[in-house]
Structures are given as C-alpha cells and as structure tokens.
Symmetry: C3
C-alpha cells in the first residue's frame, strides 16, 4: 500500500519560493518535481526527469517558457510535451514528461499528483485567512526527517506546547493540565476533524498581544480544524474573563500543511495571519518567520526525527502506543488517513482483481 | 535467530560514565536504553522510549528520581511506572516503560535484557580484581564498528599482539612464533574457555614492569579465561627463568567485556589491575587509560571494522575461514556462543511449535 | 543475474598508479583487489582479503615480493600461496588467496576476474595507439557514481558534447544537429559496435589543432569502436572541405574503458594519443590530463550520478526510455551486454540445472 494519498491537493511550495526565472526542484511523494513560472507568472509543474536518459530537467536551462535538458538538449513546454529534439525534424510523439495540475492559491502553490482528471481546484482546502492583507499574512517552509503523519500527530496534540516549547511559545503556562475549568473536545464533522481547547481565567499574558489589555485576566481558546491529508487551520483567541468565546475574533490564525517528501521525510508549509505586530514592516515580518521557523527547526523537527527513528517503518497502531485523552484529534485524523489510503489501495486492488476495500485491514 | 544472547548479564556502562544527575543514553542489543542513578546512587535502567509517542526519555529531564518526557510531559519512576500524566488525574494503568535489572559490581554497571525472572546477580562474571584498590584498578569504554563476536575473536587470539600492535604493546617480541619452547593450550572447563600461552627465557623486557628485575631473563605466561557471551579475564605474569609459573602472582589482570550495540557495532569495556605505576596518582592513571584506549581505537577497532566490512552479515564459519592453531580459544568460544544462541532460539521456536534445538544447524 | 560480465579483461589500473613499492587497493566487480609489482616490475593481483580473519592484505606490508597480513602475520606470495604462518612450521595447504591473471599492455594493467582458464591475453582489446610514443600518449583514471553501463551510454552518445560540455569541449558547435549534410551511422561488425558521425564544412575551429590550417573550413569526422564490456576507441579527424575523410589521419585517438567498482559506482580509465601539443613536455601533458579529467569529474560524472539516482536499480529498458536516432550505438552496445550477461547466467544456470539461456529474458 502506498504511504501517500494520491488524489488530493498538496502544497508544493510557498508562492515566493518559485521565482520568475529559476527552475525550482523539490521531491514530493517520493517523485522529483520541477516547478517554475511561465512569462505570465503561471506556475508549472512536471516530473523532474527527462524521458530520454533521465537527467534532472531542473539542472537544464530555461528557453522562454520551455526547459532544455542539459544532457542531450531535448526541449519541453509547460505542458510537458517535447518541442525540439536535436537531430530530428520532429520530436517523437511519445517524447513527453508527465506534467501535474498546479494552482496558486492562498500564497501557496498546490499540486495534484494523482489522477489529473480528478484535480478539481474546488477541493483545495480553504486557507483564505492568508489572503487577508489586513492580517499581514506570512508563509514559510521547513523540512523535517519524519513521516508526514508525524506532522499531523505533532500539530494536533497541542499539549506539547507546554513541554516541548517551554522556552519559546509554551512557557507561559507552567501549570498546564492543572488549570481549573480547562476543557478539550474533538469531533469529526463533514470529513474534518475539529478540536477545541478552552482555558479560563489565565492571568499571565501569552507571547503575543491577544487583544485583551495586558495584565488583565482572560479566557483563552484555540480551535484546530484538520482536513486530509495534512491541512490544519489553527485559530487562537482570547476574551476578557467570562465573555463569550467568540470564534470570529481570533488574534492569530495559523496554517499547517504537510507534504511528504519521501516516506520518512516531509515538507512543512506554514502560514500566519495575526492582529499583532502588523505595523513593523518587512523587518518584523522576517523576525516573526524566523521565530516560528526556528521553533519548528529546533524543537518540533528534531523530536519528529527521533520518533521516526524509534518507529522505523512500523505503523503507529502496530506499536501499541499509549493513548491519552488529548490524542483524540490526532487519532481521529490517523483513522481518516488510514481510511483514505485503504480506499485508494482498494480501488487499485480492484482494478488488479485482488482485494477490495472491505478486506483491507487498517 | 537473534544475533544476541538475551538471558545474560552485559556491561551497560563503566561506573563513572553514569553520573549523579545526568540522564545517560546508550544503545544495547539494538535497543535504546536510559541509565541514571537515583538520589541514593542506585543505578536504574529502562527502555529509552516513551510509550506514548516514542520520544527518547533521555532527552527529557529529571525530577527527583523520576524522568519527565520532553514531548508531552509524562513522568516515569525508576521502576518504569508512569507517575504523572498531564490532563489526567491518574495515569493509565498500562502507562509504563520496560525497566531492566541492573547491578553495579566490579566498577561496572551490569544489565540483564532477557527474561527478568532469570536475572540472578550470582551469574555476573567475576571481575573482582577490579575491586582490589591495592592494584589501583581502572575502567574505560571504547566502541567499535564490528559485530560483538569479532571482539571475542580479536581478544582470544593474542598472536595479533606481535603483528597488529608492533608499535605499541607487542613490539618487544619480534621473533614471535619462533621462540624455542613456546607453548599454547586451550580447553573448555565448567562452561568457560581457558587458554594459556607460555614463552620461556625472554630477555627483552615487556612494556610494563613485570616484577622481574630489568634486564634479567624471565619466563612469561598469560592466561585468558572466557565466559559467554563476551567476558574475558586476561592475566599476565612473569617469573625468573625456570621458576614455577605461579598464577597467583600476575603483574597485570585485564578485563575485556563486549556488549553489542547493534549487530554490526559494539561496546568494549575494559578494566585493568596492575602492580606497575601505581603511585603516580590520577595523572598516571589517565595516561594508562589513554594508552590502552588509544591502542584499541587506533589498532583493534579499525581492523575489526575492516573485517566486519569484508564479512558483511555472513556467519564466520560460512565463509570457510582458515583456522590456525592459535585460533583454538576463539573457536571454542564461537562454538559455545552458537550453542547458546541456538538454545535461546530453540526455546523460542518450541513455544511457537517450530523447530527444536536438536534441529538447529550451528 | 550478476550485473557484471565476468569472463573478460577489465582495466584494473593505469600503469603509473601501481608503483614499485606500495600495495595498491581497488574495488573491482564488487570485490576487493590488491595490486602491486614484483621486484622485476611484474604486476600482481589477488583478492585483498586474508583467508584467516579477512583483514585487507593491502593494509599489511611488503616483504620482498610477498605480502604480510597486518593482523596475524600470515605471508603470501605473488601467486596467492601462503609462504609463512607464524606458530606453524608449514602453512596449511589450503592457506591461499585467490590470485587473478593480470597483463600490462597499452599503458594499462588488465585483470581477468572470471574463470582463469579462459584468460587469454589475445582477448585484450587493442589500444595500441597508446603505445605510439610519437603521439605522446597519456592515461588517467576517474571514478563516478553510476552503473558501468551508464559510462557506455554516455560515451557512445556524443551529441551530449554540444549540450553538457558547452563550456569546455563542445562549445564550438552551437548549431549542433542543424549542420547541413551531417550524418550518423551505427552498425555491428565482428562483435563490435561501430559508429561514425560526419559533419561537413565547419568553419569554426575545434578546441585542439586538427591538422587543418586555422580559419580554413574543414570536414570533421569521428568514429567510435566499442567492444564488450566497456572498451571504446574514439577517433577524431578533420580534412579540408571535400577531401576524402581518410580515417588513417586522425588528430586524436581516445580510449575509454569502464570497470565496475560496484553495481552503482565505476572506474573510468581513459587514454589519449594526439597530434597536438606534443612538444610541451610533462607540464603540458599534465595540463591536458587535468583538462580531460576535469571535464569528466565536473560534467559527465555528476550527470551519471543523477541518472543512477533516478534509475535506482531498474534496468534501462524496463524504464521505457525515449530512444533517439543518435542512441543507436549505445543501444547496440546495451543489447550485446545483455546477451553476454545472459550467456554467463545461462551457463551458470545450466550447471545448477535451472534455466538455460534460451529462457533468459533480456
């Protein structure tokens, strides 16, 4: 069974990673992918492998909107078709590279690596908070050495904030777990996992301005909404103690999107919209990105690498992990992923006349 | 078949490697192990893996005699039981880490990674010469890139002293093999391999003071006693020419204990008791450790890594090696190890209703 | 099926790589090989592995024409027979290392690693242009990270000169493929692949003096003659426009010989005889070697490593590559190699009573 869901949109890159001129290479779902932009700025994605002798096209050169292989000079257009073969008047009909549907949306470039017929842009998850310029949205990328589902596990189980991130974003709540009145709920609704944590009457201020005057006690809430395979919207808000926990007044909305690089290494794309520090210009923006990126690189990334090392290629559930109450969101996500993987394997199996989905053990 | 004997004591660490405060991590028998000492100085060993999401506990922090996981804050006592789970009043009953029996003896910390019911401290091999303060005992650790049995092969076949170690401890006998009257015997007795080399009438002095006045000819003898899986006591003595080779007057007793790290990398723990250079204080002790450690790191370790590379994962006997007379001790040890491995596999196999030990090919 | 043809001559080293004194180690066909010269300068090759405990003999020391193992002192003669075993009057009869037939010819040391009975020096491919001192022949060695057949593919498909090597040896022909009258032919004759490229009426001079007065238009031709497993003779010539393309007046003859190091790493041995820059002495020779070596190291080597990475351990044809007209020579060579591999596997299979060659799928 493939370790990846194929028929879905994945983030391939942040918008500013793919420039106007350069050829950009990234491994996604264990396949080499070439990304670039046409002269009109449209993103293009194709398999980063010449069909002749398999050189990386990303090491070739751009000629207008086309790419020329550095090994023997074959040229390909944005649709992957060969436009020129040296020493032949017409390139052979089968000279083509697989191209992938791509859509640029919400500051991110999305790619569909499954059946192209099913690549409906309406299926791209909503991260429209990253389009709201008044919230000065930011996007960034970090890779980590772990299976992509470890990213789901990590980002869906936020008690780790108060242990793993004590010195950065989690240190303001030393009594984590013992706050009177604290609640946590997780549920599945319309194919999404929703979880909410509510912590009443916090007196110590959070890392960033949360909209409640400094020093004043507040109620803190955060919601995580997850949709397969690995798209999370994390919304954090605060209200004066006892006020309704209105979800339409968050002080920060963060996007987390994971794309497999290989079975044991992953890309983490994140985006942030916020009400704080919006007026500092590019310098403050850069500092915020460095802050969040640094946390992931120095705290989350290494521990996921450790977990990957400990798990090897075993399935999480086969290792009989201890399940804690706050794991509910992550476990619900794991189950939905397993279901999707089984469906894709089942469809594939049926075509081959082997086992159907009903027989797949998840 | 496991490449390791499980139901036996192994050295996990030298006593001074596991300090009062720090958490100490070491891979043993291809499992991550956490070692530390309680406030009373008692050594503790447990699997270095949180049962929740498999973080290394050794990367967490100590809270009194307990260990707190850095990922989500679970706490475990010296017996491996979870003592605190954030967000739960009582930790789940199954929240526990596997702990291992450990005993500190002869300046070494011994671990039993097989069936804990069988962990009888009386089975710990005798290295009591390391307890004799009058012999100023030393212990040290070096790792090498080779299967643990290559350590047995190396340390049981001491003719290599005169070839591999010509520039350090073996160079004083350039006519090795041609000394008139030299004898070598190896035998099995009470589950141990004993070998003795006797070289009469040596005129050139050895590296260290051997108790015979310098310049005076002497008879040199050395005994190696081996017990499974990889414990060796190497005793070296000298007497004036023709005097009885009394074994109770050695000038140096060295312990060699090998513990597998993985199937292809091993820990070598050594200890030394001696009559020479006992009055130089810590500085001379440190120099002696550096001397012996350096020999192993620069001469034995690299050649075992080479041999491992050449052998791959093949069994020694399957490679049809040339057997020399002086290999007797090493071969006897290999056979006893093979027998022990087969016994453990046989027991396991029987439980599974497969092959019994009688059918195992060694 | 072995990835290597066994019953054939391979280049083991350039003549000047194996000096008078030193032991020289090189991995060939995934076996460690020791090379050295006797006192008479005769090259010797044997398995670089002591039959006792598998140390690398190349790490031992020379004693006259013999080699002494550094681990336990066994000594072996040039024929691989053990001449001395410490602690034994006579070495055991089976104490021997496999030796390999070697022949020094055409500035190269050739080795036969298959059945020694079939090692006929008459089968060594002709590279006698490297013996013609008037053409000031040069030889050199470079390794690359790719299967040895990628070397054939690369060196048989010379259109890559004008794409991969634009900044070095191929840059003088920017209109590659569009030259009016250009022809290419490939054919098999007497077990060899011959290919010829002819480009008429070139006005821009090549990198090196081609014998036609500078600035004068000329017709350029090059021939490649390939013989299994990976021996190529590349002959390049030029004549004034319209003159017969006489093949006996080349301005440069280059040898390319590939020897597998492992299945995914290879040795490239090259030699050059030329009419240009013959009078500059050793300094110019060294500059020429650095020039050609550098091209291979910086341009060919990296792209073959990329191709290897993309292909993994798949067979080229299983990947359904696009075939271009100029691939004819390389494809013919691939087919002949497949045939040879099948023959050797078939012979082997027959002995084992399994499949014969008729059933081997190539």
């Amino acid at each position: 069974m493939s370790p990846f869901i194929l028929n879905t949109w994945y983030v391939a890159a942040c918008d500013d990673e793919v420039g106007e001129e350069a050829l950009f290479a990234r491994r996604l779902l264990d396949q080499p992918v070439l990304l670039y932009r046409t002269g009109h700025g449209e993103p293009v994605a194709m398999l980063d492998r010449c069909p002749h002798r398999f050189a990386y096209l990303s090491k070739g050169r751009r000629i207008g909107d086309e790419v020329e292989c550095l090994y023997h000079g074959l040229r390909f257009g944005p649709d992957g078709l060969c436009t020129r073969s040296p020493y032949q008047k017409t390139p052979p009909a089968r000279a083509r590279v697989r191209s992938f549907p791509v859509v640029e949306r919400h500051r991110l470039i999305w790619i569909w690596m499954g059946d192209p017929e099913r690549a409906d842009p309406a299926l791209i998850p909503d991260h429209s908070h990253l389009d709201d310029e008044s919230l000065r949205p930011l996007v960034w990328h970090v890779a980590f050495d772990g299976n992509w589902q470890l990213g789901n596990d990590n980002l869906m189980e936020l008690t780790h904030l108060f242990w793993l991130h004590t010195s950065t974003i989690g240190g303001w709540k030393p009594d984590a777990g013992a706050t009177p009145g604290e609640t946590y709920h997780a549920r599945v609704e319309e194919g999404r996992v929703h979880s909410r944590t509510f912590v009443p009457n916090i007196t110590r201020p959070p890392v960033f301005d949360n909209g409640v005057p400094a020093g004043q006690p507040f109620d803190q809430w955060n919601d995580t909404e997850w949709v397969a395979p690995a798209n999370m919207t994390f919304t954090m808000g605060a209200v004066p103690v006892g006020a309704p926990a209105v979800t339409n007044r968050p002080y920060m909305v963060q996007s987390h999107c994971i794309t497999p690089e290989t079975a044991t290494r992953s890309h983490y794309f994140s985006g942030l919209a916020r009400i704080f520090q919006r007026d500092g210009g590019p310098e403050v923006d850069a500092r915020l990105i460095a802050f969040f990126k640094g946390i992931f690189e120095r705290e989350d990334g290494p521990i996921m690498a450790d977990v990957q090392e400990q798990m090897g290629d075993a399935d999480l559930f086969d290792l009989d992990p201890l399940i804690l109450p706050r794991d509910a969101g992550a476990i619900l996500a794991r189950r939905m992923v397993a279901q999707r993987l089984a469906e894709e394997a089942g469809a594939e199996a049926k075509e081959k006349g082997i086992a159907g989905i009903g027989e797949v053990q998840v």
